[in-house]
Amino acid sequence: MSTAATTHAPDDHAHAHDDHHYDPGFWRKWVFSTDHKMIGIQYGTTGLAFLFAGFCLMMIMRWQLAHPGDAVPVIGGLLQAIFGSAAFQTDAHGHAGMLTADGYNAFGAMHGTIMVFFGIVPVAFAAFGNFVVPLQIGAIDMTFPKINMASFWCFFISCIFMVVSFFVPGGAMKSGWTAYPPLSIMADAGPLNHFIMNGQTLWGLGMVFNITASLLGSVNFIATIIQLRAPGMTWMRLPFFVWAQFVTAFLLLLAFPPLESAAVMQIMDRAFGSSFFMPTGLVVGGHPAHWSGGGSPILWQHLFWFLAHPEVYVLILPGIGMVAEVIANNTRKPLYGYKAMVGAILVLGFLSFIVWAHHMYMTGMGAKVAGFFQVTTIMISVPSVILVTALMLSLWGGSIRFTVPMLFATAFLPMFGIGGLTGIPLAFNAVDLYLHDTYYIIGHFHYVVAPGTIFAIFAGVYHWYPKATGRMLNEFLGKMHFWLSLIFINGVFFPMFLQGMAGVHRRWYDGGATYEQLITPVIHWNNFMSVSAFLLGAAQLPFIVNFFWSLVAGRKASDNPWDATTVEWDTPTPPPHGNFIKDISVHRGPYEYSVPGADKDFTPQTEAPKSDRPPGVGVAGPIATHPH
């Protein structure tokens, strides 16, 4: 691998820097752009908008959980006017805007779908991957720029499907983000519903487009990382973020297609009356269902979780990659155990394909099968712990700069730790049978994804915003955003563990009021969590203001404002079309910070060795001894 330094073929090389007069016009520059940076920004802004929308759905649900049966205050009437009577009704006091049970189910299902497939993956993987990866490996663009553009527009079409699904008769899909049949086949199906224009079918079509988009993206990412590394950028000189994106792209490439086939089958069941997932002898409301039967609801669960477990790692790995970059930069020292981290992330990627059925212990799969998945599930915690431990140890002995990205990256570690450690009991069949579908599960995966990945995303936004826009984000607003978010996000999610262990079920739409005698000691947390959620929403205001205000009024950023070593900081700010204004060749590992004897505390990857000593000799630090 270490001989991967490349020599460009002459015909490829000659054209690399010949477009100083690049002017594609408005539409090709801002809308139908093939430039990886613009596509990254498009993915990022769309994804952040969806993250916010998904968060708003959740806030409305949290109001309902804390005040079951009461109309949403202030905006209730507006909500009812927008979403219609399927989702909102007038409450007992005559106020418009009470979330109905159907509306609660729809919002819950769409909250999950939007956050996972339309928020986190587009931002953490597609946006940062598109913007940062080619820059970090010294490439002028992705290998397939047109396919890259097709990926974004495919994603955009899927967004339209999801948004439209809120406004068709019956409202958005209601069967949970997992869309388990038979409910997902029967809901809003039948002669009274349009066979395409209903929430669930639109969801299926949206997923087909979303998956196609991620397929196009992941092919591009892998091909770019393999083919377009700059001369000298060997595998073990790749920044860890690139490794994380590389593994993530493989997960998307191989795990997503089975869900695409499952989505096609679901659409067949709904639109053409087939019985892929409909069992024989199904009786609905006292009448035999009109499906021929013979299908299997468990088949959907297998196909869904075959994607959705690797999907968990799709959500977290780019986050870990971003945190690794920020930590190395702000501790001013190399990552601890870079090689072990690379090994761990590859093992983790592989193992993530053989743990899926731990989501399905409730299906009664039998002790042998359950035993297999328990063992693999426990195994996968080993590489995860290696990654987090290496990042924690990277802090040790560093002279840490607590910049805003570093605050988010530091907070990521214990937050992701809580999410990960609370998952270990769930790996065991016996424990899972008790905790399944309780708020304990909700708390567990939200700790991984919300204060985990979303904090990592914020770290990434604050870290790379100067490169993308040419201006720094405001530090004070950033710190305010961080501290308030950290406090309130724990206020939202920590009580979920307490509720879950007491048996509060995730699908109760009245917050457990019906079962109050059973959960008396924990039901009061509903109010606390909801208030925390609203305050968490308010805590995002400094970020939103900062994000837009800094675009025009932020402090001007230099080309390398963080004194970083990796190649993306070796471009003009913001980088022009074609990225680099000089030939890039890489001479050293990604994290040569505080190298003894060097004239400054960081040595960029592109800096050639001093002529009086041969490359790689006399340079200390664990990375400098690469490549071998």
């Binding site: 010949d18 397929l215 053409f272």
Partner: protein, 348 residues
Amino acid sequence: MQIPHEVTARPDTGLYNAKLGIWLFLASEVMLFGGLFSGYIFLRMGAEEGYWPHGLLNVPVGAMNTAILILSSVTVVLAWASLKMRKFAAYKLWMGISILCGAIFLIVKLAYEWPQKFEHFGAFIKQDALAKYEPMLGNRHVEEENKKPGHTKIDPRVEISGHLHEVEITADPAEKEKLEAFLHRHELEAKAEEHDAKLQVIEGKHLTPGVAEDLSKLPGVRLVAFQLALDPVNAAPDDAESDKPHFWYKGATEKIGKIEAEDVESWSAFVPKHSPYFAVYFTITGLHGLHVLAGVLIMLYFWLPIEGGANMFKRNPEHLANRVEVVGLFWHFVDLVWIFVFPIFYLL
């Protein structure tokens, strides 16, 4: 701006970009079809006895389509080799044959194989009514055969199939106009049943199972019975010839059978809703057909004398050869999928 390694291989990987890209794409395609094939396995293993049909497809036609696809795989390689040797005329010939083969495959599928199924009628009989239809099912014969030692096990028979001939209905006189308009639109005739004045017999050459289904959904209309020209297995259920699927496909016989609607569990044409078998058959062959169509269109693009297509030969023949190599890899994958589809649906 020129992306590196678009045409020439990167030395350390030995690949030009598109070749790596197509292999990655094919890896994901394997998982896509893998999901569907695992669905097939799951549904087939979970099917109750008798509910997974055998021998419904036309084996010679399927075999011919298989041969056509394999032939086109050979010719697409020859097209690529011709370009590598810079023989443009040979390229046009071989690529033309590949395109033609793909088109024939699609035509056979869409104009012959699929439409035949849309008009074929099948009705699953309720468990407690199976005895009543013994003359058409022959389950006693099946039991006896299965008792013989060393005999390949025959599944019990639960379905009666064939060509729908006529249906008997009762109609609410108040909704008479809608019924008449429907019959007129579909060129069907109604006549009163001799024994029972309330019954009407609907017949006509356009009476497909789909039309019958629309008819049954009209207000006031209730289906009472079906008459159909029986398939060989239902026409002669006790015949040893009916015990196993045949290589040569036999259509419906002349023999007429009658099924009471109240004895039927579910009925339809041979469409996805008929059974998980046809659901997975149409989904997989449909998705495969879309891939064939995509392959044909892309090959046509490289064959036509246009920019980015065959005209590229003058400017950059190596680039065109690469493009043909990439579509050839895709085309081989499409063939490979069919190599799995053919046995699991036509033969097993």
